[in-house]
Structure formats: structure tokens, C-alpha cells
Subunit: 457 residues, 2 copies
Amino acid sequence: MAMDAVIEQLRTQEPVFKNMLAEMLSIPSVSTLPEHKPDMERMADWLAHRMQEAGLEHVAVMPSDGNPMVYGDWLHAPGKPTVLVYGHYDVQPADPLDEWISPPFEPRFDGDYVYARGASDMKGQVFAQLMATQALLANKDCPVNLKYLIEGDEEIGSPTLEAFLQQHKELLACDVVLNCDTNIHAPDSPSISYALRGLAYFEFEVTVPKQDLHSGAFGGSIRNPIHVVCELIAGMHDTEGHIMLPGFYDTVRAMDDEERALLKQTPYSDDEWLALSGAPGLFGETGYSTLERIGARPSLDINGIWGGFQGAGAKTVLPARAGAKLSMRLVPDQKLADVAAQLRQYFEENAPPECRWELRTLSLGPGAVMDRKSPYMQAAVEALATVFGKAPFFRRQGVSVPVVGMIQELLGVDSIMLGFGLPDDNIHGPNERQSLPLLFKGMETYARFLAALDAAN
Amino acid sequence: MAMDAVIEQLRTQEPVFKNMLAEMLSIPSVSTLPEHKPDMERMADWLAHRMQEAGLEHVAVMPSDGNPMVYGDWLHAPGKPTVLVYGHYDVQPADPLDEWISPPFEPRFDGDYVYARGASDMKGQVFAQLMATQALLANKDCPVNLKYLIEGDEEIGSPTLEAFLQQHKELLACDVVLNCDTNIHAPDSPSISYALRGLAYFEFEVTVPKQDLHSGAFGGSIRNPIHVVCELIAGMHDTEGHIMLPGFYDTVRAMDDEERALLKQTPYSDDEWLALSGAPGLFGETGYSTLERIGARPSLDINGIWGGFQGAGAKTVLPARAGAKLSMRLVPDQKLADVAAQLRQYFEENAPPECRWELRTLSLGPGAVMDRKSPYMQAAVEALATVFGKAPFFRRQGVSVPVVGMIQELLGVDSIMLGFGLPDDNIHGPNERQSLPLLFKGMETYARFLAALDAAN
């Protein structure tokens, strides 16, 4: 079959691919730093050229309110599914620079790895997917319609994506999204994430006296804002790890027995998780396993807290104010606006009258759960099983990829999360890397996935 | 009577006094800054000379492990009480310098005030007391024996005083201490503080993971150290403001009805206290008035808290550790060692097993309550009433002056707290000042107090 030719082509082109990937990784497309604006445009142009070379049509660098979007399509499979490939060409800043063994934008090939900012998150994945498409199109063996949307603002929270999706609904209409912005469990253990948690992030501050006071003179006669903050935070969970915001669990979708059984098949152990965290013990909501706690149940964490004197030694201050940052990871069918309202209600009901408080929303990003039984998901399972010689397991991830929920809402389709990073790739950190053998397996998987979609209509 | 001559002499010498006080205030005797070491010696010498001029004998600058102690005595009233005058010649650092209207060590006389670091805390008080003694001795009208102990390390917590007191118990033996390191309630409202709270200061830190983790990946599966810190802090009080450390109130000495009635006579209102604090409301232990809460009841305050991300914006971190500074104000008969043990027991009983914690003691300073009915106290009441034309009221203060408790323990005597600063003198802050009319009233009060002690034997 023609797939053999596609795979053969991918394997013989390894040296070419490495050079091309190195070129891509050497462009410092850091979206958050204004001085890299020209690099963002250079990166978008580079990508548009590669997409054209791959055989895509209507390739365009499209303006947005932020960095440009790169679009392309190939729509010559009438009656067959249309796949929208989502990715991003921007990367995180590289600092701390002095912790990098080699410069972050001078890709270094060492053994099985390439080291560079963006190697795993996610230029490597975008590149692998594009090369798979190129091989398919070159061999006239692409059985589905393809659309590409590669954005340049993902690392700053995709602030322009929602408006762009709304504006170009028809252009981007599709049956399923292929999102390569993810990893697999381990090199010999393929996985598919079918659920991602939403993220709601807040900040609050409690004020009592108008200025810092002497704790000897005033202690015991007015509220201490640190105490108030701590009492509010302590009251957000009960001793069994349940979140106590009013109505918080009302809309949380329960897992059915099948799904719970499925999650149990994850090659995972509490001992390994404990070792990975370095904590003296695990703890979470009573009645749920660790995998359920991080994947299928909402969580609430204080990400930062401050107040009073933090220096060395003793200062007897009763501070004017104290505050904290708070984020929640949300699961279906929790609504972002609901939890924001529940948090506000909690403050209204629990903050004592002898203080002033302020609660600010910093960001709200939706979560998503995908249909594990869709033909698209089955195509991904099939492709992974063929390439890795082992069926992938399904996992719920605790992390958030807001674009997946955004696409569900605006385009009405699921995303198949298929990427070939690894958990220890140091994404967002120094010495980010990508396994090359895995990247080549990824190319093959992408090609087989698209081919398998033929039957998914 | 001879007292008239003493008062007359004090009044006519005002210009001389102002020059001498300016000289004293211009020596930057900042105990905490090593570069001022020569100034400390200069200050001690200056003081020794003034004490000699005042007619004291055996004047000596005595070495200690810190800055020198200045001693002097006059012991020519056999069978009469011996008064130990305690004071300190060191001052707080003057920063922030740019907030001073005139340089902190160039005394500025403006209207009723002299502005300089140490004017109120407490060179002004030491000076006033010494001038009173000088006038008494010059008029051969000192009816009691006098000893002086002026230290140079009070502003850094009197670290060498305890050893010095132990070493020189006989030299310093006395019937009562006159401690001038305090203020009065208002210019027209004399007061005597007869109770000071003890101070125990701690720091603790809770660690869960070995390093900061991603709150999406791990949130809900391990303890968040910020939550643990907040739960521990929240549990330290109940909703009625009681402190929940095990056995905390067991030794707290209750006030009797007489004392409660006495405190009610304080010219004080909750509205004023509320306005002074700027808080939206008062809050404290159920069943006690504000004055009782700050004066007669122990309190526990978190003075600082930290953990996780404190910058602008959002970071989804589950931090490795969080911590806080905690201090308690203690009342008779609470023992410092007991409350330290109670706090440790509280941690042992309440910190969850899935975390590590560390608790450190930073300082322990005793409180004190003086006998309001002693003849020494009566002498002070009498002197204040004569000079201010109004009987002083008794107050319990929330603040701590550890030397008072230390002297009670080691020398077995009470301290009469008699000083003429005001609550708004900005001690420890920029533009510290001292009211001159009040300082001259103070000289007269000191003279009348010592004279009145004649009857106190």
C-alpha cells in the first residue's frame, strides 16, 4: 500500500529533516517580548513557506490583533472528513539563560535529543506533523481534507484566538481538530489525553487597619488581615479535601464506571507519583484515586500568599493588608462564570465585617472532555498502536489547554491531542529538549492517523 | 520648703538645659550600626560626666559584652529607700533619612518641640531625670538613696543586660526601679502604666514537595503548603477570638473586679481607638473590653506570611514551601517556656502527616505587672497629681518592655514607669520629637517623686 511509501520517505529524509528543524528552532519567536516582534514575523513567513512546500494551498499569513496566524489548506477529498491542524509557532522566554548548557536558539543535537527553546513545546510537534502531511501529499495518499491554523500567541494565553475563530468560522469549519501541543506518557507507553481541566485564576486582598500598626499596642483588639486571609483559605476545603464554595460540585460531571475502570489501566503508581512530587505523602479528595483527583475532579490551590514582614528576624507588625493568588482547575460541566460567582459568594458569606476585601479575576480558561469513542479518537488509537506496537492508554490530565475548550465552544468539534513530547522535556525551563526517535515515530503516527480518518466519516 | 527651691532652680535653668540637651541629641548613638561604635563610647562618656556634675558618686563606664553600662550612685540617706534609675542612651537608626525635615542628629527647636532621633526615646527622659536629681542634690534635698544604670543596647533588645544584672546583683540592689522609658497618655492627662505584656516571637515553615510544582499537574493530589500554613493559623483562634493552643489560658491571671473598674476610668473610647487604627471595626476576645484585650489578655498575631508567587499576574505554581512569623503578647502568670511548648504541641497535634514543618523561636521576653498599691506607686501618683493638677489614671499597656520583667525576676523589685514622651512623638520613625513643656513638667515630677519616696519606706 501507499502508506509504506510514505513511511519509507519519512525515514530516508531524516538528515534533511534535522537541518530544517534546526533552522526552525534557531528563530527566537518569543511572543511575550516586544523586541522579538521581527522574529515573530520571520517565523510566520518561514512556516508559510514550509506549508507551501508541503503541498498545502491558500497559504496565508493572516493578521490578528496579536502576532499573525498562519493558514493553509488542502481540500481535495470531497465527502471525506476535514481535519483542522492546530499549533503555535511562538515559544516561552529562554531565561534563566545561564542555566542553559548551549544557547537556547542554537539547536544542539546530542545523542537522541535536540536541545533548544521550543524543541518540544511545540515547534518539534508542528514540524513533525507538517512533514507527515508533506509525505502524504507527495505520495498522493491524503484521504482527508486538511486545514492548518498555527498561531503566534499561545504562550501568552492566546488572547486573539477567540476573536479570530469567531471571525473565520466558515474558513475554519472542520470535523475534528488535531492538536499536537501535548506529550505522551513515556517513550514506550503511548497515551491520549482526552480530558483537560479548565483554569480560573483570581487574586484577593484583605485590608484592616489603614496602615501597619504595632502588634503589641493593637494586637487582640482588631482583626489581623493575615488571620482573615488564612481563615478564608482554610475554610475553602474541609478535612476530607472537598472544596467548600457554595454549589461548587453541583454541575461536576461524575465519571461512570467504565471511565473509572479505564483510568485504572493507566501505567501509573502512587509510589511513583509520590517520588515525582517529593512530598511526604499524597493527599486529596476522599473517595477518589490520585488519577481521578488530578484528572476528573476539580481542585483549588493558593498559588501565592503575602502579608506583613517577610525579612530576617522579628518585626512586631500588625500589617494593614494581606493577600493571595488562587486558582481552580475545573472539570465538565463546571462553568467559569459560575465558579467566579461562587467564590465571590463565599467571600460575601465568610469575610468578617471588620475587614475590607477585594477579589479580582485574572483569567478564565475553559476545560474540555473529548468523546473517547468517536471515530477520530479510534483513528488515533489505531495509529499509535501500529507505530508503538502497543495500544495507547487514555488519560485525563490535570493541566489546562484553554484553546481546546474554546474550539469546542466556537467550532463545535473535539480536539485529538496527539503530540510527542515527554514529561521530562523541560518545557518552559532551561535546556528544553525533544527526543528525535520519538519525533520520527510521531511523523509516522500523524501520517497513519490521517490515513485512518478516511474511515471515520 | 526646700522643694520650692528645687523647682525654682529647674525653671530658671531652661536655656542651659536646652543647650545641654542639644549636645546630647547630637551624638548619633545608634546601637545596631557597627560604624557608630565610637559614638556609643562618646555618648557613655558624656553621660558619665553629666552624672558626676549632677552630684552622683562612683560614676563608672562599665564594660559589658555589648556597649558599656553607665553607673553612678548617691547613698547618703541611710534607712531610706534606694531607687535604681534605669534608662538607655542608645537610639534607633534614623532611616528613612529623606523623610526627616531636618537632620536627625542636628536637634531643631521649633515651637514647643525639639526634633531629633532619641529626643523622646529616650535621651530626653534620661536628661530630665538627671536634671531633677542634680537640683535635688544641689539643694541637699534628696531624701532617698540613688543608683543609676543607663545601658547602651536597649534598642537591640538588651542582649547583655541579664548577665550584667546577675553579675552585679549587690551593686544594683534596690527597693524600686524608676524606668523613664515610657510616655504619658496626653499632655493634660497623666498616666501610669502598671502592666506590660511579655513577647514570644517565632517563625515556622511548612514544606511539601521538594520543589515548586505545576498546580495543574499536581493540584488536588498533594498538600499545598500554603493551605497547611493557613489551616494551622486559622486553627489558632476560635470564632470568638480565643487562642486555641493547648493549655494557653491555664495560668493567665484573671483581673479582679477592682482592677476592671479601675481600667474603666481610662479616658478612652472605642470610637477613638477605631479611628486611630483605621479598621472598619474592632474585634477581639469575647467577654473583654478593648482595654482589657490589649492590656490584660494575651494575644497572638501573625506578623508576616509568605509562599509561592507574589508578583504581578498569574503563575500556576504549587509551591514547595510556605511560612509565617508569629508572636504572642503574654500576661501574668504565663511562662515563656510554657507557651513555646504549647505552640510546639499545637504543631505536633495539628500539622498533617503529609508535610514537613519547622518551628523556630526568635525571642522570648517577659511581661510584668506592678503592684498598683505600693508606696512607690503612691509616690508617683502624688507627684503627677501635684505637677499636672490632675490625678493620673492607671493603664495596662499592650506593648512589651522586657527589661521590667527581667528586673522583677533578677532584682525582685517593681519598676515605676514614669516618662514624658507622647504617643505621637514618632519614636522609631522620622522626625522624632519631644515636647519641651512636658519635659520640664517631667523634671518637676521626678523631683517630687523622689521626695515623696521619703515616706515610702
